[in-house]
């Protein structure tokens, strides 16, 4: 469902991804692991279509279509969801209003009827309850005054509401204590299913203790240098990135 071929991405005229190849089968959970500076966030932003992340070569095929040609909102409506590493605080924009617009934009695109205020609220409350989150969140401005853990949980909540086909989680585990990590992991696991594809981008393997991936890819120097099963995480944990990178280069 996602096929990345020889992807080159520049940021500020500097190439960060140097020919990345990655293929993810529908319904699977893949993890992309890599050291700092390997291009993990660049990959995430390139998938979501952020301005300034220029694709200079290669292609990204999403459900057989060229993802790069789509605007960020179009990708979202087609089912791509990026959980941000650093969710943005937006004073003055209330969560409920924003999320209702987003949910309805996605629903319109999929030919579904829009939710009215009551239907939206009902759905949001139901999801919040499952995530053990306070519904007061709905009337607060987006992420303003949220703790790191709350922001990440808000990302998971939005993901649930938007019902994506491809969820890309960019270091969603970073900065979380073990309890918050478990909640986020449960939130991700609950979404696993045959029509949902999940790409976990992470530095550490600890999230993978809770969300067990089907495949793991090692990203270093702007390329996938090694792919394997879930046991690869343990190898990385035991040896560290440096050894794995060296071995792959050899």
């Amino acid at each position: 469902m996602l096929k990345i071929e020889d992807l080159h991405v520049e940021v500020d005229h500097k190439e960060i991804l140097h020919g990345l190849d990655l293929e993810v089968t529908e319904g699977e959970v893949h993890a992309v692991m890599g050291p700092n500076g390997s291009g993990k966030s660049t990959l995430a932003y390139a998938l979501a279509g952020r301005d300034g992340y220029a694709v200079t070569g290669g292609r990204i095929l999403y459900q057989g279509r060229d993802l790069v040609a789509m605007a960020p909102e179009e990708r979202a409506r087609e089912g791509v969801f990026l959980a941000f590493q650093y969710p943005v605080e937006i004073p003055g924009v209330v969560n409920a209003n924003f999320l209702k617009s987003a949910v309805n934009a996605v629903r319109r695109h999929r030919g579904k009827t829009e939710l009215d205020a009551m239907e939206f609220l009902k759905l949001a409350r139901q999801k919040l309850k499952l995530l053990n989150m306070d519904e007061a969140l709905l009337s607060r401005p987006i992420n303003v005054g949220f703790s790191g853990g709350e922001k990440k949980r808000n990302e998971i909540f939005q993901m649930w509401m938007l019902d994506p086909r491809l969820a890309v989680l960019d270091e969603t585990d970073s900065g979380l204590d073990i309890d918050a990590l478990k909640i986020v992991a449960e939130g991700v696991n609950a979404l696993r299913g045959p029509t949902r594809t999940i790409l976990l981008i992470t530095h550490y393997q600890r999230l993978l203790d809770y969300v067990v991936p089907d495949k793991i890819h090692v990203l270093a120097g702007g390329r996938i240098i090694k792919s394997g099963g879930k046991e690869l995480a343990l190898e990385l944990e035991a040896k560290g990135y440096a050894d794995v990178v060296k071995a792959a280069a050899a």
Partner: protein
């Protein structure tokens, strides 16, 4: 009247006929003559004058305007005015093309002790107050349009609240339906709040059509001891209009004045507000927002004069500027030597939506007392790209995401409007502006 060049008036005939000036006492003729003499001497304010350096009036000075009395009032019904009403049942005084329209006004239920009348019914004491000098003295060359207004004023509203009177919201609605030839409307309003009174007054300036006209309005306000005035102003003039306004406020002991002004109409506007905290323990809170697009030039100039001790003032300005538009905010705070324990704050924020939009902001503080708290701040920035991407990455379209962020920027100011109906009124005006912006 025929105003041909910025150098001054080449041919001035006082067109305001005496019978239109209330009881038109002889002294008033003298005041008018003196005023026009001063205007002849100074002409239109030039951008060489410090307080006019950001706003060039030559497009206005180049235009030849007819007198308001030269055009017929258009046929308008109450239904035509409905979209511009504060509420369907508030007290309402309507002027169409500068002329009082009792048929469109709603003044039947004004309580005892309060008068809301048009200018021609003004009492002698009203006329004295109407023609008082501005509350804050400035270089007379910077104020020549006030003089022109004094000489030519031919209409306006008088709102007089008696001692202890409490008045439900009253709306002063000035509607212009321009026609082919440029026309000038010199309006003068008076709001007098006697001791212990409390009122909410909304001034609305609405243009119905694209013709060239000029609203030159002066509003004189006096707030007596322990009185409270909540003053709102919507400037939604027509696209080709000029709007020049001078609001002059005097606060007596323990008087409180709150103002919210929104400027979103006209091609060129200058909204001046002068407040003299002329007695002890007064409060003046001014907030305003400017929404400019196309080639609009919208200027807000505020002068706060702390004359006496223990005055509190605040100014909060937010501008959203798109297209090739230009927003100007100038805020002066002057604290007299006697005005100890003054607390004066000023903040100005501008949001530029295009690379050709411009904002100028100029704070000016002159503090002659030593025991005061004064602060000012200014920011000019773009829409937050990160926030924009975040919203879009969740499926919200770009235009709608921009709208959300603009709305967030100005929404906070609207939330601070204390009168519910006024808050809803400005909300509607901003929503109309935002909706227009989303169109291709």
């Amino acid at each position: 009247m025929n105003v041909e060049t910025a150098a001054g008036v080449t041919d001035f005939r006082p067109f305001a006929r005496p019978e239109r000036l209330g009881k038109s006492p002889a002294w008033l003729d003298g005041v008018r003559e003196t005023a026009i003499e001063r205007f002849r001497e100074h002409g239109f304010p030039s951008s060489k004058i410090e307080s006019w350096k950001f706003t060039n009036l030559s497009p206005l000075a180049r235009t030849t305007f007819r007198d308001a009395s030269a055009i017929k009032g258009p046929e308008l019904t109450r239904a035509d005015l409905e979209p511009y009403r504060l509420t369907p049942d508030c007290h309402l005084i309507v002027f169409v093309n500068g002329q009082f329209r009792p048929d469109l006004s709603a003044l039947d239920h004004v309580p005892d002790g309060t008068r809301i009348v048009d200018f021609t019914a003004a009492e002698e004491e009203d006329l004295r107050a109407l023609t008082a000098p501005p509350a804050v003295p400035v270089d007379p060359r910077a104020r020549s349009l006030f003089d022109l207004n004094t000489a030519c004023m031919s209409g306006g509203a008088v709102v007089h609240l008696g001692r202890g009177a409490i008045l439900d919201p009253v709306q002063l609605l000035f509607v212009v339906r321009p026609d082919a030839e440029p026309t000038a409307f010199h309006l003068r309003n008076l709001i007098r709040a006697e001791a212990g009174s409390s009122a909410t007054v909304l001034e609305s300036y609405v243009g119905l059509g694209d013709g060239i006209y000029w609203t030159n309005v002066v509003t004189q306000i006096a707030v007596a001891p322990n009185a409270v005035l909540r003053h709102y102003k919507l400037q939604a003039e027509g696209n080709s209009a000029f709007h020049v306004a001078g609001t002059s406020v005097r606060l007596d002991h323990q008087a409180a004045y709150r103002m919210f002004a929104a400027s979103l109409g006209s091609e060129l506007s200058r909204n001046e507000v002068d407040v003299d905290l002329a007695a002890t323990d007064t409060v003046a809170r001014l907030a305003g927002t400017t929404l400019a697009r196309g080639a609009q030039h919208l200027d807000t100039t505020i002068r706060i004069e702390h004359s006496k001790p223990r005055g509190t003032s605040s100014q909060e300005s937010k501008a959203v500027v798109d297209g090739r538009a230009h927003a100007v905010f100038q805020g002066r705070i002057r604290v007299a030597p006697d005005a100890q324990k003054t607390d004066a704050q000023q903040i100005s924020r501008s949001l530029l939506l295009s690379s050709t939009a411009a904002a100028d902001t100029k704070p000016e503080l002159e503090i002659l007392a030593d025991d005061v708290k004064c602060s000012h701040g200014a920011t000019i920035g773009d829409l937050d790209e990160e926030a924009l991407f975040y919203l879009r990455a969740r499926g919200v379209g770009e235009a709608e995401a921009r709208k959300m962020l603009i709305d967030a920027f100005i929404g906070e100011l609207i939330e601070h409007i204390t009168v519910d109906t006024a808050r809803a009124y400005f909300r509607r005006a901003f929503d109309r502006w935002l909706a227009y912006g989303a169109q291709p």
